[in-house]
């Protein structure tokens, strides 16, 4: 670890925290339908959209109506993406004449982008046409993020309202989140990325002559000499901006944010990381403002920062150490090299910015990568996995992080109530059996899906294990990471696993679907129930949710739930791999 590395990490979090308040205040104004700078431009578009689709913007919804509207919207957009993928060969903007996407892969990808996962079991530049990338995938980057925003705001309304049966209007929240928040910021961010060298065009791919011809030997033993290289192009900057801002993560190119056309410079890398945390950090401020307890929002944000720092320190420390089995290799930091474990990392980012990016992208449900997580040291690679296993509540996905964190808040308050023997209260609302039942449903579905699917995959040699590149504990990590990433709607890949098979396309598709919708429903049920409750005046026995003690309790609950659930499987995967590496065995 170097001072320079830590200064860059400090600059990153300082920037995020500085932007949290203006971003959060703006989002509060947008969702409370107060006046904003963009109203003269976007107001007429909003009204036109409501008129065309027959929506009464003043009509409020119960939580069940809100959930059904969200499902209907997700189903419609999912089918659209599937159809576009299957028919891309007959549609325009396909200069490479790519064929239609295979059915199981199209299904997997449609679910993946609808659920904000952006798991990619394909190489985009050789599979998806420009039209599919834009109409089928980039649109979902906006929609799925806007759905997450809407859901988080619905939960916050549930906390803020008293004796009401409704939690807002899904269509209004979706529209305002897209038009007022995601679109303007991503347009601005696209220009910033173009300034750094991210490409934005509709040209056919370039073919260039290699400076040094390469001779390669194929699997059939035949050798051939390559004299040219194809360089993929495309409308990258516009997709890259919302990919990070909406915590989507699906790369335009297979190498994702390690590709020089997606993430060319250290500055573009810095901006991309800030973009991932921008809305989740701002939403904590929005929470505080909407529930009229700004300190509560900051206390929740503080818990996120503590967990982010723990992950960053661990990953940075682990990656700063080279593989101990590399003998006679100078792996020390110097003026001319990064030192440590540089396998799978870009030289232009180095150890600190690769470790930080891995932590940020998995704390949030982004899933973009600028380094290959499979090449991290066992403990360094465990950090991204643990971040997702904790429920991606450390900043988290746009909206999804906040509502996930608020379910943990309900549990923390419940546990605090049990400890002092009083009925738990959260901001004046009594937490009762239905709330805790729904919170437990939310928390239990997650490990059930991850551990269930992983167990089935490792027990089936011809389906689950056949896709592995590495075996032993590293192989378990590859499968565990895939189901963790899918269920957590993260989308980053550990790599080393061929996921484009019928088994993985269907099972990971199911994990993504259930990991999204089966968790949203109990969360909305809590919101609806909280909205209907009376406010109880605070008393001496009320547990304050604005203090450092609350932050410590919340952090502790998240860690304990995560550790109790997943420590056994982690000990069989990355922990065992670390111990065996120290003993001289690699996988």
């Amino acid at each position: 670890m170097t001072l320079n590395g830590w200064l860059q990490i400090a600059l990153f979090i300082a920037t995020v925290l500085l932007l949290a308040k203006p971003m959060g205040s703006y989002m509060t104004a947008v969702f409370e339908r107060r006046k904003t700078f963009f109203d003269p431009m976007l107001g007429p578009i909003e009204r036109l959209l409501y008129r065309i689709s027959g929506i009464n913007a003043d009509e409020e919804m119960r939580w069940t109506q809100y959930a059904v509207a969200m499902l209907v919207f997700s189903a419609a957009t999912l089918v659209l993406t599937y159809v576009v993928e299957r028919l891309q060969a007959f549609l325009p903007w396909n200069p490479q004449h790519l064929p239609g996407v295979e059915s199981s892969l199209a299904l997997n990808t449609a679910i993946s982008f609808t659920t904000n996962t952006n798991w990619q079991a394909y190489s985009p530049e050789s599979t998806m046409s420009y039209l599919t990338q834009m109409l089928g995938l980039a649109t979902h980057n906006f929609w799925s993020a806007a759905v997450g925003l809407a859901l988080a705001i619905a939960f916050v309304r549930g906390i803020a309202r008293r004796e009401m049966k409704t939690i807002g209007n899904f269509w209004v929240d979706l529209t305002r989140g897209t038009l007022w928040i995601l679109l303007p910021i991503s347009i601005l961010f696209s220009f910033a990325l173009v300034s750094q060298g991210v490409v934005q065009n509709m040209r056919p791919y370039d073919t260039v002559k290699l400076v040094e011809p390469q001779t390669i030997t194929g699997s059939d033993g035949k050798t051939s000499t390559m004299t040219t290289q194809t360089i993929a192009q495309g409308p990258v900057a516009s997709q890259e901006a919302i990919k990070m801002l909406g915590t989507n993560g699906g790369g335009f190119f297979n190498a994702n944010s390690a590709h020089p056309f997606e993430n060319p410079t250290p500055l573009s890398n810095f901006l991309q990381m800030v973009a991932i945390f921008l809305l989740p950090a701002g939403l904590c401020v929005t929470l505080g403002q909407m529930v009229k307890s700004p300190k509560h929002g900051w206390a929740v944000l503080a818990a996120m920062v503590v967990l982010w720092l723990a992950g960053t320190f661990t990953a940075y420390w682990a990656e700063s150490h080279a593989n101990p089995l590399l003998h006679n290799v100078d792996a020390k930091v110097s003026q001319v090299q990064s030192g440590g474990n540089m396998e799978g990392k870009e030289v232009r980012f180095g150890i600190a910015n690769s470790a930080l990016f891995a932590v940020v992208t998995t704390d949030a449900s982004c899933g973009a990568v600028n380094a290959m997580h499979d090449s991290f040291t066992p403990l360094g690679g465990m950090v991204p996995m643990v971040n997702i296993l904790l429920g991606e509540v450390v900043f988290g996905g746009v909206g999804a992080g906040l509502y996930g964190m608020l379910v943990f808040v309900v549990m923390a308050v419940f546990i605090a109530g049990l400890m002092v023997g009083r009925t738990p209260e959260y901001l004046g609302k009594k937490i009762e059996s239905f709330d805790v039942q729904m919170a437990m449903l939310y928390l239990l579905i997650f490990p059930l899906l991850i551990l269930g699917f992983t167990s089935v995959a490792v027990l089936m040699p011809h389906l689950g294990l056949a896709s592995l590149t590495n075996h032993g504990p590293h192989g378990l990590s590859e499968i565990l990471y895939a189901y963790t990433s899918a269920t957590g709607n993260n989308g980053s890949a550990f790599a080393g696993l061929n996921a484009n098979t019928h088994w993985y396309n269907y099972s990971l598709g199911a994990a993504m679907f259930f990991g999204r919708f089966m968790m949203i429903v109990p969360m909305l049920a809590i919101a609806g129930n909280l909205a209907s409750k009376k406010i109880v005046p605070a008393s001496a026995g009320t547990f304050p949710v604005t203090t450092p003690l609350f932050t410590v309790l919340l952090t502790g609950v998240i860690l304990i739930v995560g550790a109790l659930t997943f420590f056994p499987v982690l000990s069989l995967g990355p922990v065992l791999e670390h111990l065996l590496m120290q003993a001289g065995q690699l996988f």
Binding site: L71, V79, M438
Partner: protein
């Protein structure tokens, strides 16, 4: 053929999700 499987999968998944919403709503007021 696989498109038919995909269509059935869509219907099944979203149908299950709708039943799940109903189930969670019904759970309110029920002692487990």
């Amino acid at each position: 053929m696989l498109d038919v499987i995909a269509a059935i999968a869509f219907g099944l998944l979203f149908g299950l999700a709708a039943i799940y919403i109903h189930g969670c709503d019904r759970l309110k007021g029920t002692r487990l």
